[in-house]
């Protein structure tokens, strides 16, 4: 059932009841006329059943490619190379063949995107999108039962008047409603993992909260795991068990959310937080500026990818690649890829105190 790639046996140390997704040294690159674009580089993490992993990083950092690679979709572009390993529930899903992919997509792993309209067919009724997904996975389902289940799903994602919405076209719905339809379709076959790529980026803050509440409640109720991708730390805050910061294709910091938002070790992760204007900060707060911009993904310079923009960089940062490792013995789960990690908590406190004294 695995096709061309080797079936990796389930390593003995995986407790099948706990780890749903195991990613090891995953890289994804594209050959382009201007050179090899390395979008994801040696990414490793585990995701446990029912847990939410938040992935943040600026645009171009490789979040979407990582999400699509986990979905087994990156290999579909002829110019892409995927290496490393993805084990989904013990099954190698690194470069799935067509059969394995269609077996898994929808029923085990599902995805929602920033723009749900791009994945909805404009000439198909909202309801048809949902019933088709349902019947694809259960061919014995009658039309009538499919319709009933679809209306149940639309109701579940809090779409008012689901009977009427069932018979509307996607363009007749607001952005928030469409995203809910996207979620209903993703949930149709009760997947174990939902990859949500910037699901609220195009939505107003009131609708964003609604959609995030909805996703959280469904994960909890169905024991579904989620990878929540956003460029906005605010979106993953409060919604993730673990947080991963990506920069230029690499994971720079990874920690339990409760740790991460208190203290960041990587200067980039700290910078992301300190440059974000926040409602809960004082008015006119001075914001940190991270000068420069992310490196060209075809430029394979040695060392840390953040070094050209980093205030703390020294010679070693331009020579060797820092590994993602625990910074303090007290918090072994809190890892950063930096030779000179900072203590984000201490830095922030100093800055706040000096600002208070200012006129």
């Amino acid at each position: 059932m695995i096709g061309t790639n080797t079936l990796h046996a389930v390593p003995a140390d995986i407790e099948p009841s706990k780890t749903l997704l195991r990613v090891r040294d995953l890289s994804a690159s594209f050959s382009t006329p201007s050179g090899e674009v390395v979008s994801v580089e040696r990414v490793s993490f585990d995701l446990h059943r029912g847990k939410t992993l938040g992935i943040v990083g600026e645009s171009g950092s490789g979040k979407s490619v990582l999400g699509r690679t986990i979905m087994g979709l990156t290999g579909l572009s002829g110019n892409a190379t995927v290496s490393g390993q993805i084990l989904f529930d013990g099954v190698d899903f690194t470069n799935p063949d067509k059969k394995l992919r269609s077996e898994f997509l929808g029923s085990k792993i599902a995805m929602i995107f920033q723009d749900p309209l791009s994945s909805l067919n404009p000439v198909k009724l909202v309801g048809t999108h949902v019933t088709e997904t349902l019947r694809q996975h259960d061919r014995s389902l009658s039309r009538r039962d499919a319709k009933e289940q679809a209306i149940g799903l639309l109701d579940k994602v809090r779409i008012p008047d689901p009977q009427r919405r069932f018979g509307q076209y996607p363009h007749e719905l607001s952005g928030g409603m469409r995203q809910r339809v996207g979620i209903a379709i993703a949930l149709a076959c009760s997947p174990q993992l939902l990859v949500a790529d910037e699901p609220t980026t195009a939505l107003d803050v009131t609708v964003q909260k609604h959609v995030l509440d909805l996703l959280g409640a469904i994960c909890e109720e169905q024991g579904m795991a989620m990878i929540l991708v956003s460029h906005d730390l605010g979106v993953v805050a409060g919604r993730s068990d673990e947080v991963m910061v990506m920069y230029a294709g690499r994971i720079q910091e990874k920690a339990p959310a409760s740790e991460f938002f208190v203290r960041q070790y990587h200067p980039y992760a700290y910078g992301l937080l300190a440059s974000k204007p926040m409602l809960d900060s004082p008015a006119h707060a001075e914001l940190l500026s991270i000068t420069g911009r992310p490196p060209d993904p075809t430029d394979r310079f040695p060392g840390c990818r953040f070094a050209p923009r980093c205030q703390n960089a020294r010679a070693i940062c331009r020579e060797q690649e820092p590994l993602l490792e625990p910074v303090s013995d007290a918090a072994p789960e809190h890892k950063a890829a930096c030779f000179f990690p900072i203590d984000g908590l201490a830095v922030r406190t100093t800055v706040d105190n000096s600002q208070e004294g200012a006129p």
Partner: protein
């Protein structure tokens, strides 16, 4: 029909911009009227930054364009430095309009793709102030590019497509400042930028404003951004003003208009503690501006709505120092 009140307006003579009873209506394809902006009043003092927040579709961009008379508002007055723009001839209006500059969200689309950076920035001046000689124009363009954090030598001959979004936005700002405006209107100019670029732009705008004594009208749907840059904040809802406040009042503790509260509650707290709010209630979306609710426009989504709210439109009243709220029932709120 009453507007939403003017209790929040400052002394007429103090204001750089004073907008009163502004109404903008469009003709929809169906022939119905779109009530985009329905009688709002506000003012901006010299050197002041006024932030405008509200969900998309509430009329923020329409207000910005109406202030610029692009197009002329359906009714109401727009007074810039004690000159009522609505009464000016087309020619006089064009002169006045130069003193206000509008920058849009989409940085690349708003720049002429066939012109180089140096010409884009100099453009306005070469059209309006033909008296300025070439050398002086050039040195001013350089100065402005530097002040918005761009290296003139690198960027001088580039075209917009050769620039990143953040660089385009800087060019737009330099271009606007070239006109020596008194009022800069920024419509969601940071919304498509990454946070690191966003913070650079915010710091830049704050500094430039201070140095030039500019007045700023800053439109954004992001409450964090608005709190960072504004001195006063206007909360708009469906073509009306719901609340006006000094920036210090924009927090979760202060008593607000129920709509401001809805916005504030929706903004995530950036902490690691997980929230498990359970399944949300049914969605209530912004009603259509074709047929806005009677009385208080917020009543269809308001947890405090009473019979009075259906019948009568609430007026802006000062509920705390520097804080004006248009709500019949806000006094009954306690936190």
């Amino acid at each position: 029909m009453a507007g939403t009140g003017k209790a929040h307006l400052k002394e007429k003579t103090d204001a750089r911009l004073r907008v009163e009873d502004l109404v903008v209506e469009f003709q929809a394809k169906s022939g119905q009227r779109v009530h985009a902006v329905s009688g709002i009043s506000f003012d901006i003092l010299p050197g002041e930054t006024v932030g405008i927040v509200g969900e998309s579709g509430c009329g923020k961009s329409t207000v910005a364009r109406a202030v610029m008379h692009l197009p002329q508002p359906t009714s109401g007055s727009v007074v810039l430095d004690n000159i009522d723009l609505t009464e000016l001839s087309a020619e006089k209006l064009r002169e006045s309009r130069v003193r206000m500059q509008l920058i849009f969200q989409d940085p690349i689309a708003s720049l002429n793709p066939r012109r180089r950076v140096k010409d884009l920035v100099a453009e306005g001046v070469s059209i309006w102030n033909r008296g300025d000689d070439k050398a002086r124009t050039e040195s001013r363009v350089r100065e402005l590019l530097e002040s918005v954090g761009l290296d003139p030598d690198t960027i001088w001959n580039r075209y917009p497509y050769e620039l990143s979004g953040g660089q385009c936005q800087r060019v737009s700002i330099a271009r606007a400042l070239m006109m020596r405006p008194e009022l800069l209107i920024c419509d969601e100019i940071l919304s498509s930028l990454d946070v690191s670029v966003q913070s650079q732009m915010l710091n830049l705008l704050k500094r430039t404003k201070r140095e030039l004594g500019l007045s700023l009208m800053f439109i954004s749907h992001d409450l964090g951004v608005v709190k960072n840059i504004s001195d006063r904040i206007i909360v708009m809802y469906l073509g009306k003003v719901a609340e006006v406040m000094d920036v210090e009042a924009l927090d979760r503790e202060t008593i607000h208009h129920p709509y401001t509260d809805l916005l504030l509650e929706s903004v995530p707290k950036v902490t690691g503690e997980r929230v498990f709010p359970g399944l949300p209630g049914e969605v209530q979306e912004l009603p259509s501006p074709l047929n806005p609710p009677s009385g208080c426009r917020f009543r269809t989504r308001c947890p405090l709505a009473t019979a009075l709210c259906v019948e009568e439109e609430p007026q802006l009243e000062e509920k705390a120092r520097g804080q004006f709220i248009a709500c019949h029932n806000v006094a009954s709120l306690s936190k």
